[in-house]
C-alpha cells in the first residue's frame, strides 16, 4: 500500500482518469449553459422539458446521440472518416494533461507546458480537416478548407500574444507562469504598466476564432454550408466532434486564465488583508446564493421528482459552501475554485460574444486576422519587449 501511495505516477494517473471521466459530463453541461444563456439573451426560456428547468437535458442528449444509427456515407473514405473525430477528441483531451487546475491538482508540470498545448491544438485541426475531406461532400470539404485557412491565420496572433506573455513570465511551464505572477504580485494582463492588456485582448479574439466559435464560426456556418466539416457525421461520431470542440474551448479559456489572468491565484494575490474575504467569505457566499436559488427553484416546480432533484442540488451547494468554511479543506480546493471560476467567466464571455455579434463574411474574417490582429500582436510584442528591457 505504501509503495502504491509513494509511486510518482499515482497522482497523474488519478488526475487523468478523473479528467477523462468527468469532462464529457462537464461538456454536456457547458452545452446546457450555452443554450440557457443564449436563450436568456434572446428572451426565451431554453430547454425546460427534461428535468427541472431542463437540468437533465445533457443526459437525454447523450443517450440520444449514443443510440442513434451510425451512418457512414457510401462514398466516404471509411478509415479517415472513422479516425478524424477520434483524433480531434484525443488531442483536445490530451491538452488537459498540462492544465494547471490548482497548485495541487494537475497531471504533469512539464517545462514546455504552453508549447505542448499549442502543439496539441494544431494537431486537433487535422481532425477537422480530415473529417471534412473524408466525407466526400462539397459542404464538408468547404468547411474543412475554411477551418484550415482560419486556423492558420489565427494561430499567428495567438502565438505572438502568447510569446509576449511568456516574455513577462520568463518560463514555459504552466505552473511556473502562475508562480511568476504570484512573485510579481500582478496578473500578466495588467503588468508592464497596463501595456499587456493589448496582447490579452488580441489573444481573446484569436482564441474565439481558433475554437471556431461565432462570430468566427465559418467552418460550420449553417446558413451557407449546412454544418460545415461535420455535415455527414451523425450519432456518436458527431458527439465526439462536439466533445472536442467544447474541450478545446475549455482548454483555450484555461490558457487565457493561466497566461494572462493569474491561473489559480485569487485576485490581488499579494494583498494580505483580502485573504479571508476573498478566499473564505466569497466562495461561501457564492455557493450559498446558488444553493438558495436552487431551493427557490425546488419550491416553484410542481412534479415530485423535480422537487427532489432541486432539493438535492440545493443541499449539495450548501455542503460545498460548508467545505470552504473548513480551513484544511479550503486550502486544498481554493486554487481549484479560483481557476474554475475564472475559466467559467471566460466561457460565459464566449457565449455572450456568440449571442451578440453576427457572423463575419469570409473576406472580413481574413481582413481582421491579417490586417489587424497580426500587426497589433507584433507591435504588442515589440513594445512590451522594449519596456521590459528598460524596466528590468
Amino acid at each position: 500500500m505504501e509503495e502504491i501511495l509513494d509511486n510518482p505516477y499515482l497522482q497523474p494517473i488519478i488526475a487523468t482518469l478523473l479528467i477523462i471521466a468527468v469532462f464529457p459530463l462537464v461538456a454536456g453541461y457547458m452545452v446546457l449553459a450555452e443554450r440557457k444563456v443564449l436563450a436568456d439573451l434572446q428572451v426565451r426560456l431554453g430547454p425546460m422539458r427534461v428535468g427541472p428547468y431542463g437540468f437533465l437535458q445533457p443526459l437525454a442528449d447523450a443517450f440520444k446521440l449514443m443510440l442513434k444509427e451510425d451512418i457512414i456515407p457510401a462514398a466516404s473514405d471509411k478509415w479517415i472518416f472513422w479516425g478524424a473525430p477520434v483524433l480531434s477528441t484525443f488531442t483536445a483531451l490530451t491538452a488537459f494533461s498540462v492544465m494547471p487546475f490548482s497548485d495541487k491538482f494537475y497531471v504533469a508540470d512539464v517545462n514546455i507546458g504552453i508549447l505542448f498545448i499549442l502543439a496539441m491544438s494544431s494537431l486537433g485541426i487535422l481532425g477537422l480537416i480530415l473529417g471534412g475531406w473524408s466525407s466526400n461532400s462539397k459542404y464538408s470539404l468547404l468547411g474543412a478548407l475554411r477551418s484550415a485557412a482560419q486556423m492558420v491565420s489565427y494561430e499567428v496572433p495567438l502565438g505572438f500574444t502568447t510569446v509576449t506573455a511568456l516574455m513577462v513570465a520568463e518560463t514555459l511551464s504552466m505552473q511556473g507562469i502562475v508562480q511568476s505572477q504570484l512573485d510579481k504580485g500582478v496578473w500578466i494582463a495588467f503588468s508592464n504598466y497596463g501595456l499587456m492588456l493589448v496582447p490579452a485582448v488580441v489573444f481573446f479574439i484569436a482564441a474565439v476564432a481558433e475554437t471556431n466559435r461565432a462570430p468566427f464560426d465559418l467552418p460550420e456556418a449553417e446558413s451557407e454550408i449546412v454544418a460545415g466539416f461535420h455535415t455527414e457525421y451523425s450519432g456518436f461520431r458527431w458527439a465526439l466532434f462536439f466533445l472536442a470542440e467544447y474541450a478545446s474551448i475549455f482548454v483555450i479559456c484555461g490558457i487565457a486564465v493561466t497566461v494572462f489572468f493569474g491561473g489559480w491565484l485569487r485576485p490581488f494575490a499579494n494583498v494580505g488583508f483580502l485573504e479571508t474575504p476573498l478566499n473564505v467569505v466569497f466562495p461561501i457566499l457564492l455557493f450559498v446564493v446558488i444553493g438558495a436559488g436552487c431551493a427557490l427553484g425546488a419550491a416553484r416546480v410542481t412534479l415530485a421528482y423535480e422537487k427532489a432533484i432541486m432539493g438535492v442540488l440545493a443541499l449539495g451547494m450548501f455542503l460545498v459552501a460548508g467545505l470552504f468554511a473548513i480551513p484544511m479543506i479550503n486550502e486544498l480546493i481554493i486554487g481549484f475554485f479560483w481557476f474554475l471560476f475564472k475559466v467559467l467567466i471566460f466561457i460565459y464571455v464566449f457565449i455572450w460574444v456568440r449571442g451578440t455579434f453576427p457572423r463575419f463574411r469570409y473576406d472580413q474574417l481574413m481582413q481582421v486576422g491579417w490586417k489587424y490582429l497580426i500587426p497589433i500582436s507584433m507591435g504588442g510584442l515589440i513594445v512590451n519587449g522594449i519596456v521590459l528591457l528598460f524596466t528590468s
Partner: protein, 175 residues
C-alpha cells in the same frame, strides 16, 4: 527492461513503419497522414532524449504548419488523377546497385566506428524542478554561439516570404 527502452523501440517502430507507408501509399492524403505519424514519432524520440523544446517545436512547425499547408495543396489537386499514375519506375538495376553500394558504405563505417557505440546507462529520473530547462539552453546557444547562422536563416525566410508576396500580388493590367 526500462520504460525508456520500451518507449524508444515503440517510437522507432512507429517511425520506420509510418515512413514506409508514407512512400508506398497511392492516395496522397494517406501518405500525408502517415507522414504525420512519422513526425509525431520523431517528436516522441526527442522527448525521450530530454529535448522537450525540440519535441514541441517539431509538432507545432512540422505537423501544425507544414501539414496544414500540405493538405491545402492536396485538396486542390484532384486525387483521382494522382492515384492512377505509377509511383515507381522500373529501373530495377540502377536502384539495386545504388542500394547495395549505400548499404555497403553505411555498414563499413558502422563497423569501423563500432567502438563509439555504447549502450546507454539508464539515468535515474530527475527530481522535479531541478532540471535546467531545455528551452533556456537552446535560447542561450542560439543567441550566442550560433547567432550568425540563426540570423542568416531568418533573412532567408524573410526573402522567401517577400518573394511569395511579390509573386502573389496581382500585376496591374495583367489578366
Amino acid at each position: 527492461m526500462q520504460l525508456d527502452s520500451i518507449l524508444f523501440y515503440l517510437f522507432a517502430v512507429q517511425i520506420l513503419f509510418s515512413a514506409l507507408m508514407t512512400i508506398t501509399r497511392r492516395n496522397i492524403v494517406y501518405s500525408a497522414i502517415w507522414l504525420i505519424s512519422t513526425l509525431v514519432g520523431v517528436a516522441g524520440i526527442y522527448l525521450l532524449q530530454g529535448a522537450e523544446f525540440l519535441a514541441g517545436v517539431q509538432i507545432i512547425l512540422y505537423i501544425g504548419g507544414i501539414t496544414v499547408l500540405f493538405l491545402f495543396v492536396i485538396m486542390l489537386v484532384p486525387v483521382s488523377e494522382e492515384s492512377k499514375q505509377r509511383r515507381f519506375s522500373s529501373q530495377l538495376w540502377v536502384v539495386l546497385i545504388v542500394t547495395v553500394l549505400l548499404t555497403g558504405e553505411l555498414g563499413y563505417f558502422l563497423w569501423q566506428g563500432a567502438d563509439s557505440f555504447q549502450m546507454g546507462e539508464p539515468t535515474p529520473p530527475a527530481e522535479i524542478g531541478t532540471v535546467t530547462t531545455n528551452s533556456e539552453q537552446i535560447g542561450q546557444v542560439l543567441f550566442s554561439e550560433y547567432l550568425l547562422p540563426f540570423e542568416l536563416a531568418s533573412i532567408l525566410l524573410l526573402v522567401a516570404m517577400i518573394g511569395a508576396v511579390v509573386m502573389a500580388k496581382a500585376r496591374p493590367g495583367a489578366e
